[in-house]
């Protein structure tokens, strides 16, 4: 089974990938921020439509669909829990004839359904933005972006390493599972009945943590031997592009973000709200697709 976190697979060759690394970070943060701020369904739907254009332009449609294998059940759960258990709204669509202990009667209303879709859309937008960012950036890009943004070196390298070591962790997990299967122990968390799988997965945690700690010590030793922490302000080898293009993109994201945030407070009945969200989505999601000169 292909695991999307197994390696730092970078999908090269799209306009988004050609953005400067701080810009990629800012774009991702803007999308995530807006997904959390916007409270209405139509603007979120517009944002989703536009972000899917980014996914397609970056050549990530296949990866996005594969990631739905993991995201889909999570989104389904969000919809289910929020729509049936939030208890908001008065326009009842469905009410269970029986009561469930502790939870009471299950009721589905128009409002709770809308709320659950909003929550699911927020999650989907956030995950999609991170998927685009992860597949378009190497951990080295993140390091240069954080460095450019003047994040203190120790915080910066710690954040960087937590990203950089995810594939290694997944490799370790796979290795431990193989060891357990080859030693006939709990099916390595992958085989046997449910209880056996749970026991197998649980017994992998300690060796996994021990390995990670040991690797962390070895890596820290290697970094120390290469003068990490010698000076307060490190220099950077990678050149981070930050010219007129990058500045105008940043302005576009900022204006787009502000307008969309304002638009979401116009009220649900405002006729211009959908047009506004479409216009500002253009500012947020179209520049990464155009990105003039990305083929250089």
């Amino acid at each position: 089974m292909e695991n999307p976190f197994q390696t730092h697979r970078i999908l090269d060759g799209g306009p988004f990938q050609g953005l400067s690394s701080p810009l990629k970070v800012l774009w991702t943060l803007t999308v995530v921020g807006l997904a959390l701020l916007v409270e209405d369904l139509p603007p979120l739907l517009v944002m989703l439509a536009f972000i899917m254009l980014d996914v397609a332009a970056a050549g990530m449609t296949g990866a996005w669909l594969r990631s739905m294998k993991y995201m889909g059940p999570m989104l389904g759960l969000v919809v289910l829990v929020n729509s049936l258990l939030s208890g908001v709204g008065s326009r009842i669509l469905f009410a269970s004839p029986w009561r469930i202990p502790i939870l009471g009667r299950l009721t589905l209303t128009v409002e709770s359904l809308t709320l659950s879709l909003i929550m699911a859309l927020r999650l989907l937008l956030t995950l999609t933005a991170f998927l685009i960012f992860t597949l378009a950036s190497s951990p080295d890009d993140v390091l240069s972006a954080l460095s450019f943004m003047r994040i203190p070196p120790k915080t910066m390298v710690a954040s960087y390493l937590s990203l950089r070591l995810i594939p290694t962790l997944m490799e370790d997990l796979k290795g431990i599972s193989e060891v357990m299967r080859s030693r006939g122990l709990y099916g390595g968390g992958e085989e046997g009945h449910l209880l056996e799988r749970v026991r197998g997965s649980a017994s992998m945690i300690v060796p996994l943590l021990s390995n990670s700690l040991e690797r962390a010590i070895q890596l820290a030793e290697a970094m120390e031997a290469r003068a990490f922490g010698a000076v307060k302000k490190r220099s950077t080898y990678r050149v981070v592009e930050w010219g007129l293009k990058e500045k105008s993109y940043l302005a576009s994201f900022t204006v787009g973000g502000l307008l969309l945030a304002l638009g979401s407070h116009m009220g649900a009945a405002h006729p211009g709200r959908l047009w506004l969200s479409t216009a500002v989505s253009l500012l947020l999601f179209i520049p990464p697709i155009l990105n003039p000169g990305w083929r250089r």
């Binding site: 390091l143 060891v179 299967r181 085989e191 070895q218 290697a222 003068a227 000076v231």
Partner: protein, 555 residues
């Protein structure tokens, strides 16, 4: 210059001192090889040179170390990094970034060098290790040897005066190891860098060394020119294997040879002749053809591709006979591990079939195959799952259905048989690399499988543990067990294997009795064979592989 003055050191959690009263002086430009058994203090000695001890590890330190006049007690590792570069054993765990140029730049960024200076240093460092074409490559795409070159370039970029390397070739195949050692030799002879190299396989490195230091129990047991140390020191007691050609010339009463060339000249000058009675070396079974033994495992036209990756096996057909030790060799990434994983069903063939003890691996569950075969993984850290050595062995025994008194009896018997009863309450991860590997091996063998699958089983082991492992495997195959071992260790294969399979890029390129594979090969040949191949025009048989065989053919 590096000076150790009455240096003793104890780790915070250490049971005893890791170093005891070490007094050494290493001059500029020396090429020093350090060897010794597991836990003899080799790595600790290295950590003292670049200040990781005491600054990173803490512990109790007495005496002092001075590096180019700097007392390491009062100089931080980051300052010492400008003088001393250190390359570690595992290339994976010393890479910080994901791209080659960023990796080499990492250290330079830490000392805030300007970008233009960094650019020049990166190019120079990559040139010095012959890795310029790798400059824009991703690190996860590199082979083990290439990664180790990048690790070396990363410290060379500091332009240090001393380079300390802790078993940098132990995980590399012979070709990659040769490349790294050649680079070190050039850095030492042409640039005058001091090289301190920890290495177990002396035959690889002594030709370059000015000096050999042997460690024992945290003390310097022998120190001097390699020839003198090999002549005077009790190497087997110190857990060190003498290079085969050195052992041969010593046994013949000749001066100690350090290289094949020296041994040839010494034998020529001494007028040594081959025994007149022809070739007394037994040729052993002829390979697959004519083998009358029962087939234990069979791979038939096996193809395998990893998801999204290249083909790892391409039409591999192999028969493994009962009671034999089949050795699989080849460069890193040639498909050795993939092949072993097919034999215990961890991987199923994309095409073709694998039969183990009459069972098609696609049609039986992993549990059945786990009871049939024992698999020793390359990395003992993945293998060790329990909190104590005793529990580690008990895990295997329990998986075989043992309980109560039966379990206790089998546990005691296994701990005794593998000589690990004294380690029973120890946390396996606090043991040395070689000991961890030995515990992992014991945990596999404890299940008494029919088929042993060993992936680089001697990784990190000293000579003592290595010979115990070979002894166990020989005894196991002697009583009808079957073993398949993947290894880079040519000397091990020459002394232990019954048959050898050579893989290249997922294909079997040679297969047969060990002598036919290891004779006259360029890299996959033992040192003794290189000597006797060059002596063949004097009437010596060209297919001698080991010291014992050499002594039989020399008059």
């Amino acid at each position: 210059m590096i000076e150790f003055e009455d240096l003793s050191f104890r780790y915070r959690r250490g049971e005893g001192p890791a170093l005891k009263n070490v007094n050494l002086r290493i001059d500029d430009g020396e090429f020093v090889v350090v060897a010794g058994a597991s836990r003899s203090g080799k790595t600790t000695l290295c950590r003292c040179i670049n200040g990781l001890i005491p600054h990173f590890y803490g512990g109790t330190m007495e005496g002092r170390v001075r590096v180019q006049g700097l007392d390491t007690r009062f100089t931080s590792p980051s300052r010492l990094a400008l003088k001393v570069g250190m390359v570690f054993q595992d290339p994976e765990n010393q890479m910080v970034t994901t791209e080659v140029s960023s990796e080499v730049a990492f250290g330079l960024e830490n000392i805030a060098l300007p970008r233009d200076v960094m650019g020049r240093r990166i190019v120079e460092a990559l040139d010095a290790v012959e890795a310029q074409p790798l400059r824009y490559r991703r690190i996860d795409e590199l082979s083990g040897g290439e990664k180790q070159k990048i690790a070396l370039a990363s410290v060379l970029a500091f332009q240090p005066e001393i380079i300390v390397l802790d078993e940098p070739t132990s995980e590399l195949d012979p070709v990659s190891a040769e490349e790294i050692l050649h680079i070190l030799e050039r850095l030492n002879s042409e640039l005058g860098l001091t090289i301190i190299l920890v290495e177990q396989r002396l035959e690889r490195v002594l030709s370059y060394a000015d000096r050999l230091i042997l460690m024992e129990g945290g003390e310097v047991a022998a120190d001097g020119h390699p020839r003198r140390v090999l002549m005077e020191a009790e190497l087997p007691r110190l857990g060190v294997r003498m290079p085969p050609v050195s052992a041969l010339t010593k046994r013949m009463g000749l001066p100690i040879a350090l290289t094949v060339k020296e041994a040839r000249l010494l034998i020529d000058r001494a007028g040594v002749k081959p025994k007149p009675s022809g070739n007394p070396i037994s040729t052993g079974p002829p390979g697959d053809a004519g083998n009358q033994r029962r087939c234990m495992a069979l791979l038939e036209d096996v193809y395998y591709s990893y998801p999204g990756g290249a083909q790892a096996l391409k039409g591999v057909s192999i028969t493994v006979y009962e009671g034999e030790l089949l050795t699989v060799m080849g460069r890193t990434g040639c498909g050795k591990t993939t092949l072993l994983k097919h034999l215990n069903g961890l991987l199923k063939p994309s095409r073709g079939r694998v039969i183990v003890d009459g069972l098609d691996t696609r049609r039986v569950d992993q549990g059945t195959l786990a009871r049939l075969s024992g698999y020793l993984f390359q990395n003992p850290n993945l293998h060790l799952l329990a909190d104590t050595v005793e529990e580690e062995i008990a895990l295997t025994l329990r998986s075989r259905g043992l309980k109560g008194d039966e379990l206790r009896k089998a546990l005691e018997e296994t701990l005794e048989r593998f000589g690990i009863a004294h380690l029973r309450d120890r946390y396996p991860r606090y043991l040395s690399g070689g000991e961890r590997q030995w515990i992992a091996f014991a945990s596999v063998a404890a299940g008494d499988p029919k088929l042993l699958l060993l992936d680089e089983p001697t990784r990190g082991m000293d000579e003592l543990l290595k010979s115990r492992l070979v002894g166990y495997v020989k005894e196991f195959t002697g009583r009808g067990g079957t073993a398949v071992m993947a290894t880079h260790d040519v000397e091990l294969a020459a002394s232990a294997a019954d048959r050898i399979i050579l893989l290249s890029d997922g294909e079997v390129v040679a297969s047969g009795e060990r002598r036919s594979i290891l004779s006259k090969a360029l890299f996959f040949s033992p040192q003794m064979n290189r000597l006797f191949t060059s002596l063949s025009d004097r009437g010596f048989p060209p297919d001698v592989l080991t010291l014992d065989e050499a002594l039989k053919v020399i008059s």
